[in-house]
Symmetry: none
Subunit: 250 residues, 2 copies
Amino acid sequence: MMKPEAASALQNIRVVLARPSHPGNIGSAARAMKTMGLTRLTLVAPREFPSTEAVTLASGAADVLEQATLCASLQEALADVSVAAALTSRRREIATPLLTPRQACPSLLARAAAGEQVALVFGNETFGLSIEEVELCNVLVTIPGNPAYFSLNLAQAVQVLAYELFSHTGQDLDALRPEVESATQQQVEGFYQHLEHTLTHIGFFERRPSERLMRRLRTLFNRSQLQREEIDILRGMLKQIERHAPDRAQ
Amino acid sequence: MMKPEAASALQNIRVVLARPSHPGNIGSAARAMKTMGLTRLTLVAPREFPSTEAVTLASGAADVLEQATLCASLQEALADVSVAAALTSRRREIATPLLTPRQACPSLLARAAAGEQVALVFGNETFGLSIEEVELCNVLVTIPGNPAYFSLNLAQAVQVLAYELFSHTGQDLDALRPEVESATQQQVEGFYQHLEHTLTHIGFFERRPSERLMRRLRTLFNRSQLQREEIDILRGMLKQIERHAPDRAQ
């Protein structure tokens, strides 16, 4: 028996597969999810879906496929999400610390139990997640393994994460529960747009590379997992700046 | 890099597949093993082996298949083994307590590190392990999961066990960690002073409680564990704001 609060926490966790190439992997991922009590699957621009091969490999988890959400972009898939964990095995220039599944899962589960929408984001089988996709996430997870042969396929990676999440459902999560309202991806994105607008307004990018700097700033704020109230404070600052500094963007 | 003692412990652990029906599963299991540093595979009376399907699904782990040991019986496969852990999901009349992988793996790994031969024993895809096979084992392991749908396939079960074993090797993520220079407390404090100065400059605190807001902002930036380079970017922004907005603090 699963504790009711564990079951409802798992319902707030979605698995997002970004641009999966092989429908069989979608089916195997659905099966892996369901074995560990996860049922919400989001597919971002899958090459082929729906697919009979996916249904075959899903085995008894065809219901997960039937209820899957289809999105055109990762941004759309994460719009109402406040914690997005990107699975990545590559060393990147991104400054967010990499966590193991064991390190990341207790807090992901606690936040889902507190009613937040949580996403586990997996990239394409061959190319993984793009840097732009990773930048939409605020937690980076990597599955430790054999350094000489690291070749978990997509469904195996989903299985490991789902297993690790489930293994923490028996625990009392109250102590880990944050008492704050996290900002959704959409709110955070709104802040980034506003920030970029303000920095352009004051001429900050006149002699600086805007793309690189905005990436750095996103990474910085993603790491801190912004709260809704903090977004209000930050946007209040931006408004004040725009009100008092002459517009140099024109 | 794997620590030498972890690598040698994993070399004393074999995966035993008893009477596997589908060669594809043997290949996927080999791949799952190798991702977690396990290389010793024993096959007890496989229905079909060697097999090109197995090699295909093994992907880069064909060497595990090539070096696999073939046995006619589980008894033969376990002859030199001192700890055999049977994977089973059924409740049995056997009085051995069932352990989760998390409970079982530290001791399996410790005994392997001490030079003992350890086996992880998996049954047939459809029928699992027979009661006679389970009786040859001295540890029973069950993978906890969704009580309403428990359908891990053979390779997924091998993946979970191999992952769990590996997670206790002490392998850390140093190799994957980005090389960033964290800001010192003094640099961070300098940024906070600068931020407060700028916000006063643009009149942000005229109708807002400065102390409470500065505390919130400190908390936000503290959470993100600022890097030295990020401080430079942020202070560059503050300078630009002060340069272009008239001073309202006077």
